[in-house]
Assembly symmetry: C2
Homo-oligomer: 308 residues x 2
């Protein structure tokens, strides 16, 4: 069965619709504003942004499908990968489509979440899937962290016994700020250049990838439900701003999607919808020993086994 | 006359002292907090940070002098430069010393300023000077912009008739956000790898470079004096936060000093002292035609001749 890129894009647009509907229902106040945009070199997107909601202060659920001649740096990168074939050296045309989400909640006890599912192909015959979901709580609650990872593990285990471990470790590596020696949050799963192998056909991996996308809305709306009514004080809000500062640092310094977008003349407002409404930095911040902030900071580490 | 690196570092520490004293006097409330730090691979620095002042909300005046085996990427970069000699290919030791300043004022009508003077040498015989001063007003006042550029022009003209034009253009190129298609502010001067040439000896360039450093305090304290008592409203403060957001974008995405620091295991709190106390992002912000904010935005362009 041949999988067509147009079908994948159509599925992704449906996914975007479903997620936006779930989030609007959970928020109960604000709705998504939509902007359609075109890319000069080919393709475009459907950006949806929500602001000033009951729950969601700022966030976006973006769909895009862009195509054209593959930028040169993609091929530099491919030197380390088996995903692009040799024939790709001819600068083929590429097609990239995906849904990308970042949500910054108002209440500091509700976590920031990020999700992305993406598909890439070239007309020289390469294709792959990438994606992931990761959580950045301003305050880490162990029961939520365990719930989040166990739900992701269920999605993975349904398709391959080693996927959770492999993609959880990958998320720990990817969502890491070397200059801070801390993870962005409690991780999640991350994968890239998934094609076939490990006993999985491309079609089987596509089914896994779709399940990752479909897992997002129930998972995050449950985390909203658990935390949305917790009362908070100014000190909690200040800590949220500092954690958002770290989120900004990660996205602008390290995030490949953001840097790829900025370097390829992407639509800047869609790319940077991932930034929070506001953020703060404090010189040499010292945390009170034993405080919830200090407890959260101490858990921003790779390799914590939340799903056990 | 042989110039010793230790003398340059000693001069820079004096410069730091003088600038901090001038700024404390201008601020009238807060004083600099000092932290001495050492770099594992060699050398260290004297970080001075001011927060919650009358005028200065957050800023730093940092001195550093680091040395050790030159990192590999310096030599990749040197392929495009005549500043490093062939013998440098042996991975010599380097010595880098400088003073770096970023100041974020509380009042949105006082501009953000950045200054840096730096000296670099290797034991294989290369050495150069770099530096610059640039201004990022939240609101551009033409008379201040002209004053700022004319003062910089005087400093340059004293040493070389073409330096102002050359280094002003360089600042326009350097302090630019391609993804926003806007300059960071009104520019200033920027230069790098200055050694000898254009009829200038290294010693003459060193005298120019020192004058750039010495120009900073009188220039910025005058801009503070002109604007510190202007009254502002919430909408001015909101606009300041958005401009600070762009400053964060520039520093984390493009600034070479910041990226160099983060990639070479520099002291993160000293490097990121350049970030403001807080910043904001708004999706697809639309400016009111004819407003002061819109006027400022329209002047964030390369090639404006402010010194005429």
């Amino acid at each position: 069965m041949e999988i067509k890129k147009e079908e994948i894009s159509a599925w992704l647009m449906q996914l975007q619709d479903g997620i936006c509907a779930s989030l609007e229902k959970a928020d109960g106040l604000s709705i998504f504003r939509e902007e359609n945009w075109e890319r000069e070199e080919g393709g475009g997107g459907r950006t949806r942004v929500i602001t000033n909601g009951n729950v969601l202060e700022k966030g976006g659920v973006n769909f895009s499908a862009v195509h054209g001649e593959a930028p040169e740096f993609l091929f530099r990168e491919s030197a380390h990968s088996s995903a692009l074939t040799n024939t790709d050296k001819k600068r083929p045309n590429f097609y990239a489509t995906g849904v990308s989400i970042v949500l910054h909640p108002l209440n500091p006890f509700v976590p920031i979440i990020h999700m992305n599912v993406r598909y890439f192909e070239t007309d020289a015959g390469s294709r792959w899937l990438g994606g992931g979901i990761d959580l950045s709580p301003h305050y880490i609650f162990e029961e939520d962290a365990r719930y989040f990872h166990n739900e992701l593990k269920k999605v993975c285990d349904k398709h391959h016994p080693e996927y959770y471990k492999k993609f959880k470790d990958w998320a720990d590596e990817y969502f890491y700020l070397p200059h801070r020696k801390e993870t962005r949050g409690i991780g999640g799963i991350f994968f890239d250049r998934l094609n076939e192998g490990d006993g999985m056909s491309f079609e089987k991996n596509l089914a896994f990838w779709k399940d990752v996308g479909l897992a997002f809305a129930p998972l995050y709306t449950e985390l909203i439900r658990r935390n949305r009514n917790k009362t908070y004080e100014e000190k909690n809000k200040n800590w949220q701003l500092l954690r958002r500062g770290r989120y900004v640092e990660f996205n602008l310094v390290y995030d490949k999607g953001t840097r790829f977008g900025l370097e390829t003349n992407g639509r800047v407002e869609s790319i940077l919808m991932s930034l929070p409404a506001n953020a703060a930095w404090e010189y040499n911040k010292v945390l009170e020993a034993g405080s919830p902030e200090s407890n959260t900071q101490s858990l921003l580490l790779k390799g914590i086994n939340w799903a056990s």
